[in-house]
Amino acid sequence: MFAYALRRIVATIPVMAVVALFVFSLLYLSPGDPAAVIAGDQATPADVERIRQSLGLDRPYLVRFGEWAWHIMRGDLGTSIFTNLPVSTMIAQRIEPTLSLMIITLILAVSIAVPMGVTAAWKHGTIIDRAVMGFAVLGFSVPVFVVGYVLAYVFALELDWLPVQGYTPFSRGVWPWFQNLILPAVALGGVYIALIARITRATMLEVLQQDYIRTARAKGVGQRGILFLHALKNAAVPIVTVIGIGVALLIGGAVVTESVFAIPGLGRLTVDAILRRDYPVIQGVILLFSFMYVLVNLLIDLLYTLFDPRIRY
């Protein structure tokens, strides 16, 4: 187990290296002069030169990559072109809302989607099953911001149950914090719920046909026991895997959800950075998100043994 964990952790290093190389090379991939593109149309030649120097574009590619990677490993993500603040400081200021949103969405989505998928598999072929599958197709089709606007319109503007937009820090009380995140979490969770529910249903359908389920039934285990103890436990690995893969949806969706609900998180930071072409910030955020994504999936890989003792490494 320990050897496996070590091997799995080591295996993420090349992945992160590719990510870093790619994120770094983005600047060089742009057609034309990246410094001029970042500086914008109204820039003077002096501005362009200043940006070229601050990004290190005047020095050789490999030298620059070495420096950049070395700084990253020490937690230095560079300096924003626009605010002149360290990118790591800007990220630290904005990370709380985004993490809060993602964690609440994750909990909400898993606690809705898994029972949904299980029920659909149990009631296979009935109207309940069809409803779940129909919801899943809808969840994949209706974009995050559409759900967001509809929810905000109905529950905040028309019914006035919840705040329309904004964010309250956790330190100012759990309820105000939570209240502001309910609608964004539901909006962001739509696709994620659809994805998890679909995989849960498919895996459960497969597991429910196994011999040990018939054995459990024969020895008199109740329906609920069969579904949640015998079947779900054996269906856990694909479900947990898709929960990890789906974190990418959460990350991408968070950028949009934060725009819709005016949440001052990393998504807003990204959007602002794009509009200002603040490239060090964009690079920093993408690196951070990718790192988070790789880390989540690493953790899930390591968790497999917990769900399925047959997996031994």
Binding site: V37, V144, Y149, I251, V255, I282, S290
Partner: protein, 307 residues
């Protein structure tokens, strides 16, 4: 019944009385024509029909009682939907109905182009990866790396470096989608290589390019087609997200994401500016997704009614 317990002595009556065996293969109902096709593949017909309708709307937008979607008219800005302005007007007085109809063009062009280009490029990379051992390790490490950047972020990063245009949006989303197609094709190729008929082809001295062309490629087309429809759907969503956050098509082009981005400032008082493009976008993506589900069920019967 007593006689039938002995093996080999089944009577006709026993056979008739026996419980019907579960069919391994579903009974074949060879209905012909459109009615038969519709009965067998309702999702393909419904999704495809809806998509065709939207496609026709996009193509014939100028004939469908629209006006110039970019014509400014400050005198009649933010009008509520009415008989005159079906979907109302936006804050610059542009007709939202016309803009939404023309917006269908952008979404469909982006969706279809990304689906086509990422499939072709992904197919090539996947075939190389599945057949050339030394390249496989390198290609797959690169794809692993790219796949760990959430695709919409990857597209955002690419767009941040170029000027907004429909071509650049297509390019950015295509690059973001390629790793997934390559992985899919590689997986299919690796499993096909183990098939007996490929062994037979190798044994009879068929050259590798010919094996790829005759035996491997045709078998990758079904999964690729299904994947392409899903990519088309996610590309349309990605385009609207990019435009919505200001990193997509230039604001002058009426794309659904742009219309929503412009309506955002006013959405609490004039929600219709956001809602009409939202409805069209959702319906279009739904149509493509249904088509994809239907194709998957039709092309891969083992998966049908499962996932």
């Amino acid at each position: 019944m007593s006689t039938s317990i002995l093996p080999g002595r089944l009577t006709a009556a026993d056979v008739a009385a026996a419980a019907p065996q579960p069919d391994v293969m579903p009974p074949v109902r060879a209905r012909r024509g459109f009615a038969g096709f519709m009965r067998r593949n309702p999702t393909i017909v419904f999704g495809g029909g809806l998509l065709l309708l939207i496609l026709l709307v996009a193509v014939f937008a100028p004939l469908l009682w629209t006006t110039d979607p970019t014509a400014l008219a400050p005198a009649r800005r933010t009008r509520e939907p009415s008989a005159m302005y079906w979907f109302g007007t936006d804050m610059l007085g542009r007709d939202v109905y016309s803009r939404v109809l023309y917006g269908a063009r952008v979404s469909l062009i982006v969706g279809f182009s990304v689906a086509f280009f990422s499939s072709v490029i992904g197919l090539t990379i996947g075939l190389v990866s599945g057949f050339v051992r030394w390249a496989d390790a390198i290609i797959m490490r690169i794809m692993d790396g790219l796949m760990s950047i959430p695709s919409i972020l990857l597209a955002i990063a690419l767009m941040a470096l170029t000027r907004g245009s429909v071509g650049n949006v297509i390019l950015a989303i295509t690059i973001a989608e390629i790793p997934r197609v390559s992985r899919l094709v590689r997986g299919v190729v690796l499993s096909l290589r183990e098939q007996p008929y490929v062994d037979a082809a190798v044994a009879s001295g068929t050259s590798t390019p010919r094996i790829i062309l005759r035996h491997i490629l045709p078998n990758t087309l079904a999964p690729i087609t299904v994947q392409a429809t899903y990519i088309c759907a996610s590309a349309m969503i990605a385009e609207s997200i990019l435009s919505f956050i200001g990193a997509g098509t230039p604001p002058i082009i009426p794309s659904w994401g742009n219309i929503m981005a412009e309506g955002r400032a006013l959405w609490q008082v004039k929600p219709y500016i956001v809602f009409f493009p939202a409805i069209f976008l959702s319906l279009t993506v739904l149509a493509v997704n249904l088509l994809g589900d239907g194709l998957r069920d039709a092309l891969d019967p083992r998966m049908a009614k499962r996932v």
